[in-house]
């Protein structure tokens, strides 16, 4: 297998993995709500990946999405390090939701919020955050 082909297959696998992770059923255990439970007053979903210092996905990391320390949704990442939580009301400013991640043997390094381009259609449907962990 040539190096180029190997790189292509590798990229394809990563792409498929990411695409699979975007499907609701592929989330680590789903998000606990049936599709019909998405109410009209619900705000954007918060999704993203947990990665280690080398950029590798961290599976089964605990991810918390907190609103002003009073209300927190907690989930875990799947095999691709992906997570998604939803259920915050739309009158909550997405910038007030703080994402943190943790896993035994790791320490949280930083989070990176990926804001959609200004040209993106409104209303905002999802907010992406990457959470970085460093192995202790």
């Amino acid at each position: 297998m040539t190096k180029r082909l190997r790189n292509f297959l590798c990229a394809l696998c990563v792409g498929l993995g990411a695409a699979t992770a975007m499907l609701p059923a592929a989330w680590a255990g789903g998000d606990g709500f049936d599709p019909d439970d998405h109410s009209e007053d619900e705000g954007p979903a918060h999704f993203g990946f947990v990665k280690d210092e080398r950029g590798k996905p961290v599976r089964d990391a605990k991810v918390s999405a907190s609103f002003k320390n009073t209300f927190t949704l907690v989930t875990r990442t799947n095999a691709t390090g992906a997570f998604r939580v939803r259920g915050f009301k739309k009158d909550i400013n997405p910038n007030d939701i703080v994402i943190t991640c943790s896993k035994e043997g790791y320490k949280q390094e930083r989070t990176i919020r990926r804001t959609p381009p200004k040209s993106a259609k409104k209303p905002l449907r999802s907010v992406e955050t990457e959470c970085r962990l460093r192995r202790l």
């Binding site: 606990g32 439970d37 605990k62 209300f71 949704l73 907690v74 259920g87």
Partner: protein, 332 residues
């Protein structure tokens, strides 16, 4: 020398100030709530306590944590994996977890004698009409399912006569009927009243067939509780005060607002829900969070009847720790 003394004094002063600040930092208490309960009446005592500042009054930094995915059967797991410190949980799940080795115990009652309405599509007029139909149902081990099966038997239906579809959460079961994926389902408040306002039909109430029992409780691991006794006493005191607010006619507006904001129903349906609970008193809510051991034993009896417990039934005391209710002045 004077310089060294000054530095020492400065450090000591700093430590004192820091210690004082730490002593005044309110303890964080992470309270687990199932996603299926978050938008229902079952969250109202906590919502009221938050809105009325009852946790702050007790010096607690109280935080609601909803594990996702968060089936009601996973709330004890959330205690064990350190997602939460205490949790709201249906008594049957607590008993099941404790018998499987968990050291979780109930420290206060949150809901007793739930009123589950068996609601059906408008063309279904009797329970017997459900023969061969799909009925949305909670986990088979819950008191909801147990009470519904009793209703079916009382009306001449065997379990095998009905096709059960596992749907957790009252609002989700209502949506199951709206989609016509279910013909009937047990609904709690306020979604049952909402369904009736949409033309659905009430077939029966769970309270027609089951005696009084303890439905949901606040649970904690004994190991965590031993190290946080004062925090738990404060929590119980705040929860107890919330029940007082809910029953206080002068606070009716506050409670109605909490229900409408939390569940999304109209004020009229919120008022009807409270009327259903309190006019006359149907003992749906404890007076102050007290745990009725007889009602707890009834849950264990349900589980035995349903075949979920084998052998001699355990005593309720095994699953309950009353010291926090006593120290909070709720129980003698």
């Amino acid at each position: 020398m004077p310089f060294a003394a000054a530095v020492t004094a400065f450090v000591l002063l700093g430590l004192l100030v820091l210690g004082d600040a730490m002593a005044q930092t309110p303890p964080i208490l992470r309270y687990g709530q199932a996603a299926s309960a978050a938008k229902t009446m079952f969250s109202i005592p906590i919502v009221v306590a938050q809105r009325e500042g009852l946790f702050e009054r007790e010096g607690l930094d109280f935080r609601v944590v909803i594990p996702i995915p968060g089936g009601a059967d996973r709330m004890i797991d959330a205690l064990h994996d350190d997602t939460v410190d205490i949790t709201h949980v249906a008594t049957t799940f607590l008993v099941r977890a404790a018998l499987a080795g968990s050291d979780a115990v109930a420290i206060a009652a949150e809901f007793n004698n739930p009123i589950y309405s068996l609601i059906a599509k408008p063309d279904i007029t009797r329970i017997v009409d459900l023969k061969g139909k799909v009925v949305g149902m909670a986990d088979p081990g819950t008191s909801i399912s147990i009470s519904m099966r009793k209703l079916f038997v009382q009306h001449g239906l065997r379990e095998s006569d009905v096709r059960f579809k596992h749907v957790e959460g009252t609002s989700t079961r209502l949506n199951c009927m709206r989609r016509s994926d279910c013909i009937a389902a047990p609904l709690g408040q306020p979604h049952d009243l909402l369904a009736l306002s949409e033309g659905y039909r009430l077939l029966a109430l769970s309270t027609d067939v089951v005696p009084e029992f303890v439905y949901t409780v606040t649970a904690v691991r004994r190991s965590w509780a031993a190290a946080h006794q004062d925090t738990l006493v404060r929590y119980v005191r705040a929860l107890s005060a919330a029940f007082g607010v809910i029953r206080d006619p002068r606070k009716r507006g506050v409670v109605i607002k909490a229900i409408t904001d939390t569940t999304g129903v109209s004020a009229a349906i919120a008022e009807r829900t409270l009327a259903l609970y309190f006019e006359p008193e149907r003992k749906v809510l404890p007076q102050k969070g007290e745990i009725d051991l007889k009602g707890f034993a009834q849950v264990i009896a349900f589980m035995g009847e349903a075949g979920h417990l084998k052998g001699p039934l355990p005593a309720p005391e095994r699953f309950v720790e009353l010291q926090y209710l006593k120290r909070a002045g709720v129980m003698p």
